[in-house]
Amino acid sequence: MTDEALVARAVEGDVDAYAALAERYYSSCARMARRMLRNDADAEDVVQETFLRAFRAIGRFEKGREFRVWLFTILVNQCRTAATSRKRRQLRFSDDEAALAGAADQRPIAVVEEKSAVAAAVDSLEPLLREAFVLKYVEGLEYTEMATITGAGISALKMRVKRACDALRPKLEAIYHE
């Protein structure tokens, strides 16, 4: 069933339809939140809060809008708020959690190492650059969608992506070409 059909049913009060949307978009929201907050537990909280806020507001969803973009707009705002209020705690625990997550992973070491190294490189970006890079290259969004989600202009977003890429290039080359 399409997003549009599920949203239409959710607006009418069909909880199962909304739950289906939540299952469909949980992983992409969680990816975004993890990169923005650099802390799995905080990201999980923020994603849950995002879906609950969207659930409460689904009656106001404007027909013709793209559900994913609308959801990500709420998510980005939630991440920004959480990043501000939880800054100290996230800095203290993020490295430990990343290490534990890697230790429990059953995939081949090379795959785990690649993802961890790339994540560490992206995490080292300034928040606004990181946000723009993840929306473009991880979530594959268009600049017009990114502008709606972030509230920034398209030219500003292109500049952020360029700066993010400039900062990442030497680190990614070291990861992939060593």
Binding site: V15, Y26, R56
Partner: protein, 182 residues
């Protein structure tokens, strides 16, 4: 390195980060449970069957602060005003709810994303009455009160919306255009 190589580099990094996490499945299930719990919370029992302690005492009024003074209007006046068109002008609207035993009360509506933490109400009038004044655009708005963070309660003094969201109706307030009541 060429632009094409660069693009491949960043696409490859993005793909590495798109891999789902091992904890996603558990968290996804927890989220669906939370959504269903939220839906159950939002289904307010029929008005006659609601917790009686504050329903018996509840009375709400809405006042429009227009220009020089604040006046009070009854629910009937809002019904009469429902045909007014919206515009961008904002008016201050005071929401009042009587619930002496409540620990906290907040206002939720289409104007604050139905967020129970966005618009807390303050105790006034000898601690029995809760109120909050917020700017609202002219036009029709739907709202409810949230008592003690859990119970969604409609305003007994205001008309109910005909539409149901997740099985619940809400109260309606219409902010008139260009009204200068006092």
């Amino acid at each position: 390195m060429s632009d094409v190589d660069n693009e491949e580099l960043f696409e490859r990094a993005g793909a590495a980060l798109r891999e789902s996490s091992a904890s996603d499945e558990r968290a996804r299930e927890a989220l669906v449970r939370a959504i269903r719990a939220e839906a159950r919370r939002r289904r307010t029992p029929p008005r006659g069957a609601m917790s009686p302690w504050w329903m018996a005492l509840a009375a709400a009024a809405v006042a429009f602060a227009a220009g020089l003074g604040i006046g009070r209007a009854t629910g009937r006046q809002f019904v009469a005003a429902t045909s007014l068109a919206s515009d961008s002008a904002q008016r201050h609207v005071e929401f009042v709810f009587v619930a002496p035993a409540a620990r906290n009360v907040s206002l939720v509506g289409d104007f604050n994303g139905w967020d129970a933490t966005a618009t807390p109400m303050r105790r006034t009038d000898g601690r029995a009455t809760w109120s909050v004044s917020i700017p609202l655009a002219a036009g029709r708005h739907v709202y409810s009160f949230v008592v003690d963070g859990n119970d969604w309660v409609t305003d007994p003094q205001a008309p109910l919306s005909p539409e149901q969201w997740f099985g619940q109706r809400n109260s309606v307030v219409v902010v008139p255009v260009g009204d200068r009541r006092s």
